[in-house]
Symmetry: C2
Subunit: 135 residues, 2 copies
């Protein structure tokens, strides 16, 4: 089927959900190549907007996302990747999910989750400067 990559300049948003728990872990973007690699190799590859290149999730930390299945929405402009996260969490700030803060009506954010790992340790091996898995 045709995926509507053109709506966002060649990208579609890709939600990652923990296949077992149902927790929404993160949102990234994919272009055609990253989707193809994700499906071919069974591990999630995004396209990093800030770095303007393919970005294998977990390339620094080892916290890869094993693909269970890929779903597409009615308008073919968003993806839902159901996956098994390898490691204690997907967030470069040390949480299981990137959505670790609640936003109140006044616009203030409150941390609602516990850290599951130390980001410094996880990223130190590969990078002297802790690498941010930047979307």
């Amino acid at each position: 089927m045709e995926i509507a990559f053109e709506k966002l300049g060649g990208l579609v948003p890709a939600i990652v959900q923990d296949e077992a728990s149902g927790e929404v872990l993160m949102l990234g973007f994919m272009n055609t190549e990253s989707l193809e690699l994700t499906q071919r190799n069974g591990e999630v590859v995004f396209f990093s907007r800030s770095r303007n290149k393919l970005w294998k999730k977990g390339e620094s930390s080892g916290h890869v996302l094993k693909v269970h299945d890929v779903r597409i929405d009615c308008d073919a402009d968003a993806l839902l990747i159901r996956a098994t996260p390898v490691g204690p969490g997907v967030c470069h700030e040390g949480y299981r999910s990137c959505f670790f803060r609640s936003l109140n009506r006044g616009g203030a954010a409150q941390v609602i989750a516990e850290r599951t790992f130390s980001p410094d340790s996880a990223y130190a091996a590969a990078n002297p400067q802790p690498a941010k898995d930047s979307k």
Copy 2:
């Protein structure tokens, strides 16, 4: 906190998840005004890119999304709205979730859910032409 609306020309992607079941229901986009309305009134309002205006989810069908809480990710460029869907489904094609198709490695889509309502009936009252809740 500052939300990174500037990354997508004033919009951020907003994932909607069923608060009770954990099912990911849809993805829309929000600008500052739609987020403010969503939080103030407790029902999800998106910004429609195709219609270039605010779009109250359920304005035609009555299938509104009652907000449970709003979460924001580490980079402050994506929202997760945990909500209770009113009615049999959120998708204008008659499914509980807009992610009702699986995408295989060859790029073919397969419907993996049952229809929960008739889109023709749901949208007929308000619109002679079935209105598409277009993102």
